[in-house]
Symmetry: C2
């Protein structure tokens, strides 16, 4: 097996700049509705930025297989639009005040309009995908969307309760890793890849998505508010137990468990402070445990694509997991 070096951030951006710009344009065009308020909400969300990691994965997947099809631009916009639709509805459900350092769309427009704007964005993603005239693409997207919605409902049912690692991994697979997986699969599908190749690229996406969400959950516990763009420890405030917390629950003293239980049930730091929780997590090495787990998934992602031919896109795909696990927001 040939050895292949890992790309740098600059190289990845050089490789994808034109396509990412084309996707931004496509996303803007696709988000224009004859009903002004939909366009307003969509433009607000586009301008809010985001890492565009899902279109980036789709592009790299397609490029690793030759990138002969222009469909990558359209479907890159689709996966970002779908992601945006889930954010609009999730913010309603979580009663979020802010998103990416700005008022969340539900704060700015109210819940009712955002229910409908989210619906519209879902429909527009499917309409755009439908233009591909490819049933496999539609199957992937519909299955994905249902899994994400079910994941969000499962999460709601578990709010305030202790969950185990298995339940945690099921939740983050549905919430995050499934879309990463499908983004990679779509890149393969439009290049006419074999089932086996599509599966391996999907596996990369799944592993990377799990790593991504574990890191996200750690940052929620440890990052500074001004870096994160939202209140710290918002998961605990919403009654969500994430990997480090589950680790501490399973290893902690009776008092430790009771402190965590209290925060989850209260959905606030009224009786137990954020500093106390961080102390418990530190004492049990729970943050390190979560980060080590994320790094193991990042490595698994790299291994999933070992058999791909050596290309700039493969080098970039080998770079992404490290970027995901070393980010600070």
């Amino acid at each position: 097996m040939s050895t292949i070096s890992i790309a740098t951030a600059t190289e990845v951006m050089d490789l994808l700049r034109d396509d990412l710009l084309a996707i931004e344009r496509e996303f803007t065009v696709q988000s224009a509705s004859p009903v002004q308020v939909i366009t307003d909400i969509a433009e607000y969300l586009i301008a809010g930025g985001g890492k565009r990691i899902r279109p980036l994965l789709l592009l790299l997947s397609a490029k690793a297989l030759g990138a002969t099809s222009q469909s990558r631009i359209r479907l890159g916009a689709v996966v970002e639009m779908l992601h945006t639709a889930t954010l609009v509805h999730d913010d309603i459900i979580d009663e979020a005040d802010t998103r990416r350092g700005r008022p969340s769309s539900n704060t700015a427009w109210g819940n009712s309009k955002c229910v409908l704007a989210g619906d519209w964005l879902y429909m527009q993603s499917f309409r755009t995908a439908l233009e591909e005239r490819n049933f496999h693409v539609l199957d992937l997207l519909i299955t994905l969307t249902q899994q994400m919605v079910e994941g969000e409902l499962l999460q709601m049912e578990k709010l305030g309760h202790l969950i185990n690692e298995e339940e945690y991994f099921d939740l983050i697979f549905r919430k995050t890793a499934f879309l990463f997986k499908v983004s990679m699969q779509l890149g393969a599908a439009i290049e006419g890849a074999s089932d086996q190749t599509e599966e391996k690229l999907g596996e990369y996406g799944r592993n990377l998505g799990l790593a991504f969400q574990i890191v996200d959950d750690v940052l929620d516990l440890t990052a500074a508010e001004d870096v994160l763009g939202k209140p710290v420890a918002s998961d605990l405030r919403e009654g969500k137990a994430t990997l480090a917390v589950i680790h501490a629950l399973e290893r902690g003293t009776g008092a430790d468990r009771e402190a965590i239980r209290t925060v989850l049930a209260d959905r606030s730091f009224a009786h137990v402070s954020h500093v106390q929780i961080l102390e418990i997590l530190q004492r049990h090495g729970s943050i390190d445990y979560a980060m080590d787990t994320a790094c193991a998934y990042a490595e698994a992602a790299r291994l999933s694509i070992a058999d791909l031919p050596a290309t700039d896109a493969k080098r970039a795909l080998l770079w992404v997991p490290g970027f995901v696990t070393s980010r600070d927001r």
Copy 2:
């Protein structure tokens, strides 16, 4: 042109009973999710009944063209599921307490779960439709759904304001008549009908849908609460001006207009009573005007299918408009 008699309710039910039962079973099967709360909400909505008029139209459209395809059962379930999805989200938006004489789903399960349950029902409709492997069917359904969502948003923007007839017809077309139209078109599409035939059947659906919604809006103003299964004049309480009200606004005295404006702006009968409003509508013949308009659309629906060959299904389609305009709830 041959004369053809109109069917009776019993004849129509005899014609459709088996298919409608098959659609109920299909709807129940399709609404089962691995996430229990989705199945619970879906079963609650199915048990709540409803007129099943959209599947009925799809069946009659298919039967008028031979009904050779079993797709009518699957797509009959799809249009009812899609309708149910819109009801779940609309009830959140309208903050409805009751629906069909029972607590609305948002009252029973809360808004957050109902946002997601509605999303899931939309996705499940598309997933079920996708099994048809027919792009035209998917095009019809996606366009429909976006039109409905846009219609609901347009309606929200106009709440509390005076609208004219043109705006009213645009709203009820999107909200109701588009789904009636597409139900008819789907029946034609699965029978491999010509574009021209599909268009005529669609035209029937559009005309019938407009008649249906105008009558619905009249009943909201005039029916008794125990017959209707929801509070009377809920449209006015939500700030919605419907056809009879628009008619009175355009013909009323300054005092009449002011009374109607006040109710729409207040979204309550705090300053002007329901009886006062009904008196204004009676004095200007506004209820009769709305009912006459509904009957004209009902007649237009019958004319749209004049060229269809004489079949039991055609006789049934000629019966439906009279049923729609003479119902009391």
